[in-house]
Symmetry: C2
Subunit: 381 residues, 2 copies
């Protein structure tokens, strides 16, 4: 079996949210995990724990932080200090804890829209104010346009890079604008770089904090192997503070024992992924690239009224369905009429009901069935 060859009955048997949120006749293409397996190195690490029944308090001090630093250096040429990295369960925790440590209720937090929904939750649920910063579709791609004036209580920027759901991989020039903006307005930046591995040919990921020590000193970089290595259920993430003073400010407000620590399965799988998973990942990337290009061709040819800017990163397609002039949200239309489960655009911001997010990290025949159903639904409506 190849790394990307799973049939629908096998996938539907998985006890995952992706395959169980919707009715059994719906083909899901929503939440961001992949309809593939895991790297052999991860499977071996999990098997070792299972075989040895090794579930006592795990001796893993510094192991995750060390793997993070090796990975950032080998993959992005970014030198980090493992002593400034904290392991925890997920990036949403990292975002909530950063917001709570570096701002007060009522403070403003800038966020590009459309946005991964939990970032809006981290602002609303903690009593901070979302300062929306809509991205603009320039006809070629989604571009970042930072505001010329800012709220007097603006304290933070939650920055998603590569951007979810638009799939933008920002250039050095764009990142330098972001850094200058954050420095000019004295913002702390949470830089979510969870999709950094998943960049298509022509692009390259540049960690925001790698630009200069000045931006690093105010940046918390949050990442995880869960997206690129397909292990979100194992709950393991890293937050890295770009300067010791930033870490100290965080720790003064946020006891790390409140946040918990990742399970041994999360740590061992992540270390296996980052240190020994690259060959598998390259195979997956080849499939994702083929899927992306097939999707772009097929939508252009067979789904008039739907457009999207071909993502430079991620396995997510942000479909602009406004040309269909639907009587309901795009997500609802494709769920009801195509029996395809996409992410509803309106969950990424109130202005996006005409959009839907499609996850194309599936075996080609599954993706073909998803898109075929969408084409039929549009043709027969």
């Amino acid at each position: 079996m190849s790394a990307t060859d799973f049939d629908i009955p096998t996938l539907r048997a998985r006890r995952t949210n992706k395959w169980h949120k919707f009715a059994p006749d719906v083909l899901p293409a929503w939440v961001a995990d992949m309809d593939f397996g895991v790297a052999p190195a991860i499977a071996a690490a999990m098997r070792r724990l299972t075989d040895n029944q090794e579930y006592g308090y795990a001796a893993r001090d510094g192991v995750l932080a060390g793997a993070f630093s090796r990975r950032m250096a080998s993959r992005f040429g970014w030198q980090t200090d493992p002593a400034h990295a904290i392991g925890l369960g997920d990036l949403v925790q990292a975002t909530f804890s950063s917001v709570m440590a570096f701002s007060e209720p009522g403070d403003g937090i800038l966020l590009q829209l459309p946005s991964y929904p939990p970032f809006m939750g981290a602002i609303a649920d903690t009593g901070r104010r979302l300062i929306p910063n809509a991205m603009r579709d320039d006809g070629q791609r989604w571009v970042l346009e930072l505001p010329a004036t800012v709220d007097p209580r603006l304290r933070m920027l939650i920055f998603c890079h590569p951007q979810n759901p638009t799939g933008r991989c920002y250039s050095r020039a764009e990142l330098e604008q972001v850094a200058a903006f954050a420095i000019r307005h004295d913002l702390v930046v949470v830089s979510d770089e969870i999709h950094a591995d998943i960049i298509y040919p022509g692009g390259g990921h540049i960690p925001l904090a790698s630009l200069s020590s000045e931006i690093a000193a105010r940046t918390i970089t949050i990442t995880s192997a869960t997206k690129s290595f397909n292990i979100p259920a194992l709950r393991c993430a890293v937050m890295h503070f770009g300067a010791p003073a930033l870490l100290q400010r965080f720790l003064a407000k946020m006891p790390t024992r409140l946040l918990g620590s990742p399970s041994v399965t999360g740590v061992d799988a992540t270390v296996a992924a980052w240190d020994d998973g690259q060959a598998w990942f390259e195979e997956i990337m080849a499939q994702l690239l083929a899927n992306r290009d097939w999707l772009a061709r097929t939508i252009a040819a067979e789904l008039p009224g739907v457009s999207f800017r071909v993502p430079e990163a991620t396995y997510l397609a942000w479909l602009d369905c406004r040309g269909l002039e639907l009587p309901c949200s795009a997500g609802q239309f494709f769920l009801d009429k195509a029996r395809v489960g996409l992410n509803f655009g309106e969950t990424f911001g109130p202005d996006y009901a005409g959009f839907a997010r499609l996850n194309f990290a599936s075996p080609p025949k599954v993706l073909a069935e998803v898109v075929g159903r969408m084409v039929d639904a549009v043709r027969t409506r």
Copy 2:
């Protein structure tokens, strides 16, 4: 291989804190996990995840809370509402979050001493004040003596039941005193009941919150399968709120997404333990009982100057070594002279340097070697 038959080389090969904190010539008997394996039901659950590479976002809504409620009903006759249970990584998170949600910096929190060290951390690290409540050795056992007068800013009680490290399993009469005290002083109670399964013949665990709806309404019960089923590295715990209003007060202060959620391995192992692990656990309990009784006889016969109150619960022996009149702490003496790694008493409170905590959840031959080394060290000093 029986459930309790592991030799020292096999144990030392485990990548656990227990076997790697000290030098290789030290026999460890400290941190509270067991030198055994796990229940066949847990091994099967882990193997299923490993075989199916099922690490996408897990469909486990309500699964852990349901298993918790079934377990509390079947084991302790306690009816709980799964809708009032929250899953998270560990009990230390549960304690920190409760302290932060139900008290303010500067408030007083009552805690029985000696105490599991992280409870002192949850008070100190959050800027609350520890109001110490020393237990008293009445010659038969450690008894609880609640204070007659209390600090005007006393807001909470962190209650450990069965008590770690003394091994007390409180009677209904004692629990009723605790409940009356909490109600009289309008305290919120965090009741750590993680050792509730591990009760020796003659005793029986009564959940504090099961006494009355009045005490339930102010009690957060925190528990986990990690101690009794030997899976602490999988990081899975439950906090249960005894009334909807208590849960609402908690949620108003503490966004649950800050706390994260347990990994799929933690959830599946816990559910397997609670629903299908009891036969294995009974086998383990028989070994723990034999170990406890052997330890009591052997210490009485061969370690003059060391005494302990035979625990009614837990696999922990709280050794009073003050009769040895050592020139250093008891933990340090046995580490240096016996090459045995115990928990140092002074970490359970400043008055306990003459004590040490011994974990007797080991194969009999390992326990015999631990105690034999201690006997030799005392004889030859």
